[in-house]
Amino acid sequence: MDDRSGRATERREDGGKLKAPRTSVGWERRDGGVSRRQFLRDSLAGLGTLSLGGGFLAGPGGASAAEGIVAAARPVYRGAHVVIIRYGGGARRRESIDETHTWSPFLRHELTRRGTLFPLMEIASNQGVETGHGQGTLNILTGAYGAYRDVNHRLLGERFEPVAPTLFEYLRKSFAIPEHQALIINGEDRIDEEFYAFSNHHLFGVGYRSNVLSLYRFKTHLLRRRLEQGGQSAEERRRMKAELGKMESLDGRVDTRAPQSKAMEGFWDRWRDYYGEDGLRNPRGDRLLTELALRAMRQLHPRLMMIHYQDCDYVHWGNLNHYTRGIQIMDQGIRQIVEFADRDERYRDNTVFVIVPDCGRDASPLRAVPCQHHFTRASREIFALLLGPGIGRGKVVDRHAEQIDIAPTVAAIMGFNSAHTEGRVLEEAFA
């Protein structure tokens, strides 16, 4: 419904009074808290160092990798943490936010009371906009729809390279945030999504990319460590180097194999000490992602983190309980992460959660099991839930919204410019 001014009306879960949305964004005034004098001083220092000929990373993004130099000119980020949870694998509104049929009770019954729900969010039905996991993730991250195609032309491949910058690039270009504090938490089944860390945009790119936590990265780290430690035969060493080379060069956009930061190396070393090296003793599936996210919050303190939940997509193969169990596992994971943030000094009252599916799922009346998430209206029907400081509590915005609105909204929350996004800021969410 719209009021007479044409703005969407909102209703509160507790039946409270309606409140007109504010157009100003709370976080815009907290743009890093840097004074003009400090900013100019840092910029001059950076330019001076540049003139001495700092090194550059080559890459299609064209961004300078003299990170330390340029970063000195960027303000320190002092805003809220943002955790984007890709409620992924393709979940319908019915099993997620429908009060009667939900398989996600924590999300539906508790989190919606703490935040603002957009139950009518959709993925546009423009030509070329597909309802897939990779596509949905990039819609969320870039704030722009794209007709993505696998760069290697594989059937069903999702190795996409976004043209529009991702949220991580915007953030790291605007603020001095190290790579290990801009994280994607990725599952072991979807290697292609490891490479959504940066775009091909000429003003952004590899220099502002996020880091990725996944078993794939752990295995890469392990190989490096073993080679460093030595003790293998020549043949085995040759084989390990070949395997490491293959793993490190999967992204053809990056020419050199930059070493991981100390923070990341320490993270993986602690992971190995705790879970061993075989990848079989740690939690698996989406529970692995939850564990990685919690450990990252404890050890790496990411400012912006995106978690790629996925398990409910296994319903593609016909077992209905994979869908419902997958949603339950996501719900439990969200609960753990939110409760951790509520307890942790660093994250308490200082974290905004954005929960949004990558795509919907079929709701054909002639299917006993909703296996697919293509070609139909229901696969474009998703939702978004925002909660945290500055976000309205217990609100439901019954107004059409688009998946690409997430990125500019997060940009507004975190206080950086997202000039290349195409969506709108979900101002109705702000308190």
Binding site: E188, W317, G318, D362, P365, L366, A368, C371, Q372, T376
Partner: protein, 404 residues
């Protein structure tokens, strides 16, 4: 005791056969256009039915049709050879017996005025007249289905286990046992290919022999396959080729929301009525194709048995009823005289086909593999639970209707 054929029959393509199941002799004429339309129409309606008993009748009707076609084929060969030889006609001469259609009836007894009917009186005679054909179809259908499921159940069971347990293991990230699901599935595919190499001709054997056990006459069926390898490749190819069209038709309802959005607003009864109309259309393609495939198998069997029967060892493979048939209509030298006819040079077809015989087993397996892949694809695109693994309308129960 058999009445003389009518004048109308004499004007048609006459094929005298003995219908062993009814115990009488008749002359079969080709079915006219109206009859073809009616009987095929009933086949389409029955195979699109939601009631499982009607597709059983379809299976039985197809079995009886196959038997008649095999007999007709042999009788035509007898007629050809007689015309080329000095063979004197005997009691099994063409033109004797009441005139009936070569297409069996669906429900009514085919034998309306023949000898068998005289043994029944009153109500039983009336019931037999009205439903005799249906009873025969039902019995033949059950026998055919039993054979098909016994043969394909191992493969179907492995597929069911592989799919369910394999994906369950994958969901739980059971890497240690990751190979179990795929390997079991592949084993099921191998069993399926082995079964399908045998099944179509085994059904023809069962139809011709008239007993359910004949389905498992492995030596006879294997002998026919060996003599007709290129034809078996063609049969498998037809299954795979037309199967692709059937695959699309069978999975489309799963995507109904995409091309018919109003379906999401329909009530359950409305949706069911819409679904029934749709599957009637599917059966309009599926049933004629199935009939063609069965008749093709029947022809291959008929040709193969004739070829086998050139040798004494091959004649031993004839079933009892088949032997009776040949003893009745080709007594001089038995079946052998039918096959010791003029040799024809192979011509271009022979030059092309002969090398194919060497790679025929591989080609047949490839075609059945493609058919198995269609079943997998069908399950992925429109999952039908265990039924999707255990039944295909062209292999087991010929039922095109599906309701989730």
């Amino acid at each position: 005791m058999n009445p003389a054929p009518t004048a109308a029959c004499r004007e048609h393509d006459l094929n005298t056969v003995t219908d062993e199941e009814a115990g009488w002799e008749a002359t079969f004429r080709s079915a006219g256009p109206a009859e073809v339309l009616m009987k095929m129409g009933l086949g389409i309606v029955f195979s699109a039915s939601a009631l499982p008993i009607l597709p059983v009748l379809v299976m039985g009707w197809l079995t009886r049709l196959m038997r008649r076609r095999i007999r007709v084929y042999w009788m035509r060969r007898i007629t050809e050879v007689r015309e080329l030889s000095d063979f004197e006609p005997t009691a099994g001469a063409v033109g004797k017996g009441p005139c009936r259609s070569a297409w069996p009836n669906w429900l009514m007894a085919d034998d309306l005025t023949g000898e068998a009917s005289l043994s029944n009186r009153g109500a039983m005679r009336f019931l037999r007249r009205c439903f005799g054909g249906g009873v025969q179809n039902f019995k033949a259908g059950l026998a055919a289905l039993a054979g098909a499921w016994v043969l394909t159940l191992p493969a179907g069971a492995l597929w069911t286990f592989s799919w369910y347990a394999g994906w369950n293991n994958s969901f739980n990230k059971g890497y240690e046992q990751a190979a179990v699901g795929p390997l079991t599935g592949l084993a099921g595919v191998a069993l399926f290919i082995a079964a399908m190499n045998f099944l179509p001709l085994a059904h023809a054997r069962q139809a011709s022999a008239g007993t359910w056990k004949a389905f498992f006459d492995y030596r006879a069926v294997r002998g026919v396959i060996r003599t007709r390898r290129p034809a078996c490749v063609g049969l498998a190819f037809c299954y795979a080729l037309f199967g692709m069209v059937l695959l699309v038709l069978l999975v489309l309802p799963g995507f109904i929301e995409g091309f018919y959005p109003a379906a999401t607003e329909m009530s359950r009864p409305e949706l069911r009525a819409l679904t029934r109309r749709y599957y009637l259309g599917v059966a309009a393609f599926g049933f004629p194709c199935l009939m063609m495939l069965k008749l093709l198998a029947a022809r291959i069997y008929a040709q193969g048995m004739l070829t086998l029967s050139r040798e004494e060892a091959g004649r031993l493979l004839l079933s009892d009823r088949e032997r009776e048939f040949f003893d009745r209509y080709a007594p001089a030298g038995g079946v052998g005289f039918l096959t010791t006819k003029r040799k024809r040079s192979p011509g271009l077809a022979g030059v092309v086909l002969r090398p194919i015989g060497f790679v025929a087993p591989l080609a047949t397996a490839a075609c059945w593999f493609a058919f198995a892949a269609q079943i997998y694809l069908s399950q992925f695109l429109y999952f039908k639970s265990f039924a999707g693994w255990l039944n295909h309308p062209w292999i087991q129960l010929p039922r095109f209707f599906y309701w989730p």
